[in-house]
């Protein structure tokens, strides 16, 4: 196959999944290029930036330079305004995604990976052995870059996996369509994340307030794509902000889609691995995608390292990654999907009854499991799925 350039591995997309895969592969001595259409790592931020502290530090040493706020409790607000607060097992962080990804990127580069920004992958090179490279557009050049393995980390809008024949299109009900402002000059509890529920507030989803320190917060909401025909997330968000933070200053707006789907059954093909949002690996209940992305990147790199060492990039060889994902977060993701399906259908009256029943309980004693068990009283089978719940976990 004619190529202009050859490398061992091309990673498409420089988000947490792609950067983690690149970092881990470069550490094993593989030659890796990461290509992203963005101008800058981490930007624009299309993320509420919440993550569990304990989970995150398994992947990267925490650095106060990219931690915007430390979260000690979570408040869930029913449509009536009644709320319950949870304070246990809740140590969370709100990140500065730009700083976080720059740090991850710097580590990948120090390990030997190359990161190319303003680089758009417009197609795949395919041969008898499956995926064998990418078409890369950069500063007006069109390059045919040959490689042994492509890692598709191209986010919710992933097209790379489709080009390799993997069906990735999301059903409308399996995507949350979101809008978010970074608000300044607002009075909030800077160590508490708030979640607002209700059909009029965020049908089939929720609204969030994640503190960013110094009287700032990510205030956003996501609604089910299946219920987005009537009002858009942006319209609903403007209403919420006008009601709760009329004096807040809007310094940044971002829209985005979050997969709340089952993950891809086969996130691999000959010469290709698919990771993160591209593989629909975000948590379908919370929408959190950072931890699943980092875990997928790590697992993909493990499989890739073995496959590259053996010189066997066949679908069968790479299927070890799919099995590893299922053993890792894949299993809990199936439970989260069932919970999402049930929770998104709960009527406002159930949310209000739940908040009423739990009102006044000491936040240090109230667990998310108990909240779900109360809300899902009429769905006892699902309560089993909720037994390991913790938020913001991912």
């Amino acid at each position: 196959m004619r190529t202009d350039q050859r490398v061992e591995v091309v990673v498409v997309g420089a988000g947490p999944a792609g950067l983690m895969a690149a970092l881990a592969l470069a550490r094993e001595g593989h030659e890796v290029i990461v290509a992203d259409r963005k101008e800058r790592l981490g930007a624009p931020v299309r993320c509420a930036e919440g993550v569990g502290r304990e989970a995150l530090q398994k992947y990267i040493p925490l650095d106060s330079g990219w931690i915007s706020a430390v979260i000690r409790s979570v408040r869930l607000v029913a449509p009536s305004g009644d709320s319950v607060e949870l304070g246990r097992h809740m140590e969370g962080l709100v990140l500065d995604r730009v700083g976080f990804e720059e740090d991850l990127g710097r580590r990948a580069v120090e390990a030997g990976a190359r990161i190319q920004l303003n680089a758009y992958v417009s197609g795949l090179l395919r041969g008898e052995k499956g995926v064998q490279g990418v078409l890369l557009e950069r500063t007006g050049d069109h390059l045919r870059v040959g490689c042994s393995l492509v890692i598709a980390a191209d986010g919710v809008e992933s097209r790379v996996a489709r080009w390799a024949g993997i069906e990735t299109a999301l059903a409308l009900r399996d995507v949350e369509t979101c809008a978010q402002y970074l608000l300044e000059d607002i009075d909030i509890d800077e160590s508490r994340c708030d979640f607002f529920f209700g059909r009029e507030i965020a049908p089939g989803g929720y609204a969030w307030v994640f503190p960013k320190g110094r009287r700032r917060a990510n205030v956003g909401l996501g609604i089910s794509g299946g219920r987005a025909a009537r009002r858009s997330p942006r319209e609903l968000l403007d209403r919420l902000v006008n009601r709760h933070y009329p004096r807040g200053r809007k310094v940044r707006f971002a829209a985005g889609g979050v997969p709340v789907s089952r993950s891809l059954k086969r996130p691999y093909a000959a010469g290709l691995l698919v990771v993160g949002d591209a593989a629909r690996q975000s948590n379908p209940l919370s929408g959190g995608g950072i931890i699943p992305a980092l875990e997928a990147g790590r697992l993909a790199a493990e499989t890739a390292h073995r496959a590259l060492t053996r010189g066997d990039l066949s679908e069968r060889s790479l299927s070890a990654y799919g099995a590893a994902w299922n053993r890792s977060l894949g299993r809990s993701q199936k439970r989260y999907y069932r919970l999402k399906e049930a929770v998104s259908r709960l009527p406002d009256s159930t949310l209000e009854r739940t908040a009423g029943a739990l009102k006044g309980i000491d936040p240090e004693r109230l667990t998310l499991f108990r909240v779900f068990a109360t809300a899902l009283r009429r769905h006892p089978r699902l309560i089993w799925d909720a037994r390991h719940l913790f938020l913001p976990s991912a």
Partner: protein, 57 residues
């Protein structure tokens, strides 16, 4: 014909994620419809977080 309003679009890619025909290309800061592939199912229009997609007859 489905039309993307580039002045409103945030280039977030949510429409691309639900398109069953891979009929939307989002390269750099430009969003384009690939009209030969589009079958006007309007899923892109429904999920767009900022109402940047229109269907003009």
């Amino acid at each position: 014909m489905i039309v993307f309003r580039d002045d409103v679009c945030d280039h977030c890619g949510t429409c691309v994620s639900v398109c069953p025909r891979d009929a939307i290309a989002l390269d750099g800061r430009v969003i384009r419809l690939l009209p030969d592939r589009c079958d006007r199912c309007k899923r892109c229009l429904i999920v767009c977080p900022v109402r940047a997609v229109e269907d003009s007859p």
